[in-house]
């Protein structure tokens, strides 16, 4: 091996060594970054978990019920629900709102009022 070849080989080895050294540190740096990111994600997941637990705690049905009662609200019941066909039309409501004067059998006038609609739902 001539000195020139030896020198060239040495330089090559140095370049390769430096490249590997650099590459290794880049990889190590990326690994650290990856671990940091994973840890950050994990931390965020825990924080999210905490917020969800807080929300669940604050929206306990008994707490909401107590607050609703303070606002004058009450639980809905079946009687509060009306079928659409059970609601009178505008014409029916107007008729119901119009008193009709009729003569009574015993004499004298009387006033008749129509019921809006017969309830379809309920008892």
């Amino acid at each position: 091996m001539s000195p020139r070849h030896a020198a060239a080989g040495l330089v090559l080895v140095l370049v390769v060594a430096a490249s590997v050294f650099h590459l290794k540190y880049v990889v190590l740096g990326l690994e650290r970054e990856l671990v940091a990111l994973r840890t950050a994600i994990e931390d965020e997941r825990w924080r999210l978990q905490q917020r969800r637990a807080d929300l669940a705690y604050l929206t306990r049905p008994d707490r909401l019920a107590a607050q609703a009662a303070q606002l004058g609200l009450r639980p809905a019941r079946a009687h509060d629900i009306v079928a659409l066909e059970g609601i009178g039309s505008r014409a029916q409501l107007e008729l119901a709102n119009t008193p009709l004067e009729v003569p009574l059998p015993r004499g004298g006038p009387g006033v008749l009022r129509a019921r809006p609609v017969a309830p379809v739902t309920g008892r």
Partner: protein
């Protein structure tokens, strides 16, 4: 050297040249090595003075398995159980200069930590001792402010139940190592800790928190009003077998399960058996009608008490006359029910029917707290008679609800579950009784609510059918029954025109009050609770109020009976022959 002082060029040995060259190469190698070391030193000391540190917790290696337990949620995704990372405080006694002082200071800022106990622990340990596991963020801050050397923190995972007591018995709880000890936490342990490394899917239960809240609230009200020892409330969707609510009182806070008493941790809905009393007549009557040997129009003499050997069976609401099958059911006649069961085949037939209805074996549910039914050893006549009206055989409330779901629906049953079922996940239904018998049962249950012992359940806005029950309470510490102690219950099905939900309320040793006229009967104590539950959960579950048309169908059947027997006593219309094809 020559005489002229000129150097004489001697020929250089080739070996010397090679040797020098090798020395240079080796020197170069060493130089490279030293330069590399120097570069690394510069890199470590100047460019990277320290390793990167990540705030907050341990670094997470890639592909690490997720150690957390999966969340538990209700059918609508509402959180029932989850995990939180909490700081735990430890100490290295070797680094603490004054253990007594440190222990006193720590005990002053940490709740539940006694100074003497802490001193003892710190002295006993060499390099590690827990000061407090699962502390709060405020306590962590307080300890940091103390600045005691040798005291550190570790993050540990803690299972929390944000809804507290609401679904305590169904969800269960875990031990300090996060291993399930009760409820779904125990039964679904493998599912909760298994799964994918990241992002476990939550365990979705069949419970509906809104329904659960209503049932628990109404039960608590009854618990306080009637001074009961315990109470059970169950709501079952009979279409899918899903349990929408499962409440057992007294209950406990699963966040502090270790402090709860054994009695409050007991799941009375699935883990304890009861003689349920007259609600069992739903089963006996269904068996009799389904046998084909008894028809609605048949009558049984209930004028005198029934004597079997040395035993005498009486009626609580005695009419002292012959009663039709509907009357026997709606007036809850023990005499009539016993005679009806004997007419339908007796003990053998009743036992076979109970087997079909799943009453003779341990119930199947995703809970570890499941009790076997207490069955009579021999089905002699007196046993058959008492079992027919709910004495002499004890089952869990869950098991009973499961059977009623079949009898008051279309005659088929599907196994109950605490986990949400999609429509295509519902297992095949098993037939228990004929659909026509189930239709008759619905009518009988409606009669009981409209005209019989269950009138307290009227006025819910829905067509409701039900049956009352009042059973003497078995003495667990001796023979016979406890004097003056009863199990009051009411089972209901709604809406009857399309039966979907079964509701059971059971009160353990209620005491009557002025509102119940001093009575402890199920019709006066448990029935009003059922009325409140149904009228509140109906809108929540999206059930429209029963229409007048649907109501008319049930009333028509009644009117048909009335027209057939004109001129009898007020209640005689139910005794009339019912048109049944």
């Amino acid at each position: 050297m020559t005489g002229l002082g000129m150097p004489i060029a001697r020929p250089v040995s080739p070996a010397l040249v090679v040797g020098r060259r090798r020395i240079r190469v080796v020197a170069a190698c060493f130089a490279i090595a030293f330069v590399s070391i120097a570069a690394r030193l510069v890199d470590m000391t100047m460019q990277r003075p320290s390793e990167p540190r990540v705030a907050g917790g341990e670094p997470v290696p890639a592909n690490a398995p997720d150690p957390r337990r999966a969340d538990i949620v209700d059918r609508n995704g509402e959180l029932l159980a989850t995990n939180m990372r909490v700081p735990s405080i430890y100490a290295d006694p070797a680094q603490i200069h004054d253990i007594d002082r440190a222990a006193d200071e720590l005990a002053a800022v940490l709740s539940g930590v006694a100074a003497d106990e802490l001193k003892r622990r710190l002295r006993a340990a060499k390099r590690f001792a827990w000061v407090k596991q699962e502390s709060t963020a405020a306590e962590q801050a307080a300890v940091l402010r103390l600045g005691i050397p040798g005291v550190g923190f570790r993050s540990t995972e803690k299972r929390v139940y944000p809804r507290g007591r609401l679904a305590a018995h169904a969800v269960g709880f875990v031990d300090i190592d996060n291993q399930g000890l009760a409820g779904l936490e125990h039964a679904a342990q493998a599912v909760l800790v298994g799964g994918a490394p990241s992002g476990k899917a939550p365990l979705v239960t069949s419970l509906d928190l809104r329904v659960q809240q209503v049932v628990r609230e109404e039960l608590l009200r009854a618990h306080e009003r009637f001074h009961t020892k315990g109470a059970v409330g169950i709501v079952l969707d009979r279409e899918t077998g899903e349990l929408l609510s499962l409440v057992s009182l007294p209950d406990f806070d699963p966040n502090q399960a270790r402090r709860a008493s054994a009695d409050s941790r007991k799941n009375r809905a699935t883990g304890q058996t009861y003689e349920l009393g007259s609600v069992f007549k739903v089963l006996s009557t269904a068996m009799a009608l389904d046998s084909g040997k008894v028809a609605l129009r048949d009558g049984f003499d209930a004028t005198e008490p029934l004597r079997i050997g040395r035993h005498v069976i009486r009626d609580d609401h005695a009419k002292k006359r012959t009663l039709s099958v509907p009357e026997i059911f709606m007036y809850s006649s023990n005499i009539g029910t016993a005679k009806m069961v004997f007419a339908a085949g007796g003990g053998e037939a009743l036992r076979g029917f109970f087997e079909r209805a799943g009453m003779l074996t341990k119930p199947v549910l995703e809970l570890p707290e499941l009790a076997k039914p207490q069955l009579p050893k021999r089905w002699v006549d007196i046993t058959t008679a008492t079992v027919a009206f709910g004495h002499g055989m004890a089952v869990t409330p869950l098991q009973f609800v499961d059977a009623v779901a079949a009898l008051a629906g279309d005659g088929t049953r599907v196994p109950p579950t605490l986990l949400r079922r999609a429509p295509d996940e519902v297992p095949p239904r098993q037939r228990v009784i004929e659909a026509r018998t189930a239709e008759d049962m619905r009518w009988l249950m409606w009669l009981t609510v409209e005209k019989g012992t269950g009138t307290q359940v009227r006025d819910t806005g829905y067509l409701v059918g039900g049956k009352t029950g009042t059973a003497d309470k078995f003495n667990p510490n001796g023979r016979g029954y406890l004097r003056g102690a009863v199990i009051a219950s009411f089972v209901a099905v709604f809406p009857l025109e399309a039966p979907r939900y079964v509701v059971l309320v059971m009160l353990d040793e209620p005491r009557g009050d002025a509102g119940s006229r001093g009575l402890r009967y199920g019709g006066w104590t448990a029935a009003p609770v059922v009325r409140e539950i149904i009228s509140r959960i109906g809108p929540v579950l999206g059930v429209p109020p029963s229409s007048a048309l649907a109501r008319a169908e049930f009333e028509d059947r009644l009117l048909t009976a009335q027209r057939g027997q004109p001129g009898r006593r007020k209640e005689a219309w139910v005794a009339a022959v019912v048109a049944r094809d």
